[in-house]
Amino acid sequence: MMKDNENLKELIKKGLYQDNLECLIELCKGNLKEEPLTFFVLINIFERLASEYENQAVPSNRYNEVNALAPLLISAIDKPSKKNVSNLIKAYLEVCK
């Protein structure tokens, strides 16, 4: 049983802004041993997204674009299959083009 999954999902639904991303990173670190592939990917995605803020802000259209990843993030947490994680990575790469 993964730790804090409900918290993770709640935070994702609340919005992928820097403060939440930092919390998400910490929660994901707690699940790394049990589900390394999924949570390693999630940590990397969250770290990169958080770094876009430079501790201040991003344009809101960028914020909305990033938030469109939420359903895929939640799917990867609920069912950490190779397919779900691959879909998440593909969508993330698209958002970061």
Partner: protein
């Protein structure tokens, strides 16, 4: 024309070093007034479309790093911050990359011109692997008294990270100075640590100048 600006939690006059609640930057001899003007002219950006802050809130204003990276801006930041910390007898000034660098370097350079040694330390955001770079770069040792600085504080997370990393290393953080407090809860977050925090400017002050210039 720059009028009287009310500081949120009091600023020191670079010349007199006296604390006061109401600030008239023109009367205070110019350094803060000059830096405020420079920040407004070079770093303040009004966006036609909203931006999302680190805290998740929306805003139309952004502070970029152009003033901090201008020759004049660096000189002013160095002079002002040095005046604020010179009596603290600290060994070093620093914080989280990259925001702290723009404040710490000029401050250390000004210290040098006054015949004082003041080192800089930089806290790295993430260490990727086990290479030579350290989490904290700079000539600091356990027990050293330091001041943590940052250029723009939003929710206070970056300042808090710097404080925690410094404490973990064994440094004694005696004060926090930020160039601009966006007033998004950062001050309260830092105050919870018990470390005194001072902002040279608040977003409110910059917006007041913005209103005056419209």
């Amino acid at each position: 024309m720059l009028g009287t600006i009310t500081g949120s939690y009091g600023l020191d006059s670079p010349q007199a070093g006296a604390k006061c609640d109401r600030i008239n930057y023109e009367e205070k001899g110019g350094l803060c007034a000059e830096l405020l003007r420079l920040l407004y002219e070079l770093s303040f950006r009004e966006s036609g479309t909203p931006i999302t802050l680190a805290s998740g809130r929306k805003s139309n204003y952004y502070i970029c790093k152009d003033a901090q990276l201008s020759s004049k801006g660096m000189g002013l930041v160095g002079d002002i911050v040095y005046e604020k910390i010179k009596e603290l007898n600290v060994h070093a000034v620093g914080g989280l990359e990259t925001g702290a660098v723009f404040i710490a370097f000029p401050t250390a350079m000004v210290a040098r011109t006054k015949g004082k040694e003041l080192n800089v330390f930089v806290v790295r955001k993430e260490l990727k692997g086990h290479g030579i770079p350290k989490k904290i770069e700079g000539k600091v040792e356990k027990g050293d008294k330091v001041v943590v600085v940052d250029d723009v504080m939003t929710s206070g997370e970056s300042v808090l990270k710097a404080i925690n990393a410094a404490k973990e290393f064994g440094l004694d953080v005696v004060k926090v100075i930020v160039l601009v407090d966006r007033q998004e809860g950062g001050k309260e977050v830092i105050e919870e640590t018990g470390i005194p925090i001072e902002a040279i400017f608040t977003m409110e002050e910059i917006l007041q100048l913005h209103d005056e210039r419209q």
